[in-house]
């Protein structure tokens, strides 16, 4: 888990070494966040590339050096929103995603896996009906497995506020999934 207190920006220099340390530190979390939000590896890789390109481009202009995590997650959130604006809300789960299940497929059987995937698709569809902020929190919580305490400074809200937003988001999703007709 990243710790902002130990971030490489302490020695504030806009050189590539600092950016490299920043990249190494945040790539896994950003990738997991994006992958969780879009559910597709190829798109996640494209968007992760875009996010770090944007970060590199904005690197010299960054101001609040003690809030790099919030900064990069804001770029990530915007990249995901832009992606959905460009591509609509089509089903993103592809053959590639299925094949990456790897031995998971053999551990159960393909039909079980597909039904599981369909359920995940329904969950993602329900997630996309939430507001951008709620989706952002869901991605941070379940994609990155961050605690509410870690999410709070990223969103600029209190820890208890994160809990309430998360609770309401889950309640909306549950209501939507509960009313969805069986196929």
């Amino acid at each position: 888990m990243n710790n902002d207190n130990n971030n490489p920006e302490d020695g504030i220099s806009d050189d590539m070494d600092t950016f490299a340390a920043f990249y190494d530190d945040y790539l896994p979390q950003i990738y997991r966040y994006v992958q969780y939000r879009v559910g597709d590896t190829a798109t996640a890789e494209d968007l992760t590339s875009t996010i770090f390109e944007n970060a590199l481009r904005a690197w010299p202009k960054r101001r609040k050096h003690n809030a790099l995590k919030a900064w990069i997650f804001r770029i990530a959130k915007n990249a995901v929103i832009s992606h959905y604006r460009r591509n609509g809300r089509r089903n993103e789960v592809s053959l590639n995603t299925a094949s990456e299940a790897g031995p998971y497929v053999e551990q159960c059987d393909p039909e079980t896996y597909v039904l599981h995937t369909e359920r995940q698709l329904a969950i993602h569809a329900a997630m996309r009906t939430l507001s951008h902020r709620e989706q952002h929190i869901i991605g941070l919580k379940f994609g990155c497995e961050l605690s509410n305490r870690a999410i709070a400074p990223i969103l600029g809200v209190s820890e208890s506020n994160v809990a309430v937003i998360l609770f309401r988001a889950l309640r909306k999703m549950w209501a939507r999934l509960s009313t969805e007709p069986e196929k």
Partner: protein, 343 residues
């Protein structure tokens, strides 16, 4: 309880689950949260991470998108019919052959076909399935060992078979090791998967190099707490069950004799149409060696009620049934030992 307190309690339960994989309560929102946490193991592929890093740092310039990933495996590529072009040529040239020669040949061929048809036709679908089931028959305690390629990797897999609580022989423990496709000597495991009725455990190379071997529950996720019988069958259907299912609906199994990776094989295709279920069409294909009746591959195409089509293909390189005493080391040890188990 006020919303704020309820929300705080739910967050604490979620954090507890994310940290321990243990379910504290049966709250429907928590159940949903657990489902949502199920897919959080994604990590960037090492190649992607390194390439992106290089391009960012070396060029310091915008990066072109990686190559498209979606490559659809074509089943048509693996089955070929080398005699078809020659037959076509023979038929096209038939007009230049004298009529009496042609007539004699046709009569001879018809007579030969009538005499030899039972032989040429080969065994029936029911017989092929019965022989395959015989070849794969297994006793309690035996271990199925397979080497296969699938999903861009090379896999070694051991399955321990026992009589389950349902009084049938089924897989009760399984360990799978993934290697890079070209690592045919199994020198560098990339990922381990271990599954029992109670838990599913994974460990990748990077974590393996740093994990504390004293923690024997490393990287495990516990399944439903009500499934703690160690002799419960693993979720899903194993090959033996699948063959038995096909045998009960043999009239819907289509058999073709073909060639797969230089093996003479029977290709058994079974298609199910389930317009009422969540999955509309399922096509499963088994490739069976004509000499040994052992599996040489599997393929699945599943079409749910949307635009997505799921396809899997596995090529079996080795399939052996062992007595436990035949194996020099117990392969079902978790966390995995430093040395890769020999088969």
């Amino acid at each position: 309880m006020k919303t704020k307190e309820t929300a705080q309690a739910l967050s604490e339960d979620i954090d507890h689950f994310l940290a321990t994989s243990q379910i504290a309560h049966n709250n429907p929102l928590l159940r949903l949260a657990i489902e949502m946490a199920a897919g959080t193991t994604a990590k960037p592929a090492p190649d992607f991470a390194q390439q992106l890093r290089n391009r960012l740092l070396e060029n310091g310039a915008p990066i072109s998108s990686p190559l498209p990933h979606r490559v659809r495996a074509s089943l048509g590529e693996i089955v070929n019919f080398p005699l078809l072009p020659r037959l076509r040529t023979l038929v096209q040239n038939a007009s230049i052959i004298p009529r009496w020669v042609w007539t004699t040949c046709v009569v001879c061929m018809l007579l030969a076909a009538m005499v030899a048809s039972p032989v040429l036709r080969g065994p029936s679908t029911a017989k092929i399935l019965a022989r395959t089931i015989d070849a794969l028959a297994i006793e309690p305690g035996q271990i199925i060992y397979q080497v296969y390629t699938s999903h861009g990797g090379l896999y070694q897999e051991w399955q321990r078979m026992e009589i389950t609580a349902q009084n049938r022989i089924a897989t009760v423990e399984k360990i799978t090791i993934r290697y890079n496709t070209n690592d045919v000597r199994f020198t560098q495991p990339q990922e381990w998967f271990y599954i029992t009725p109670e838990k599913f455990c994974t460990l990748d190379r990077a974590k393996f190099d740093t994990f504390d071997s004293a923690q024997d529950t490393v990287e495990c996720r516990t399944y439903a707490v009500d499934n703690m019988d160690p002799l419960a069958p693993l979720p899903g259907e194993d090959l033996q069950q699948r063959l038995n299912r096909l045998q009960t609906d043999v009239q819907n199994v289509v058999v073709e004799r073909s060639i797969l990776d230089n093996h003479d094989i029977y290709k058994l295709t079974y298609t199910q149409h389930n317009p009422q279920s969540g999955i509309r069409i399922t096509t499963e294909t088994l490739y069976i060696d004509t000499a040994t009746y052992l599996p040489t591959g599997y393929a699945y195409t599943i079409e749910p009620h949307n635009e997505t089509i799921y396809e899997w293909q596995t090529t079996v390189l080795e399939y052996v049934i062992y007595e436990p005493a035949d194996l020099p080391v117990n392969p079902f040890i978790w966390p995995p030992a430093d040395n890769t188990p020999e088969h």
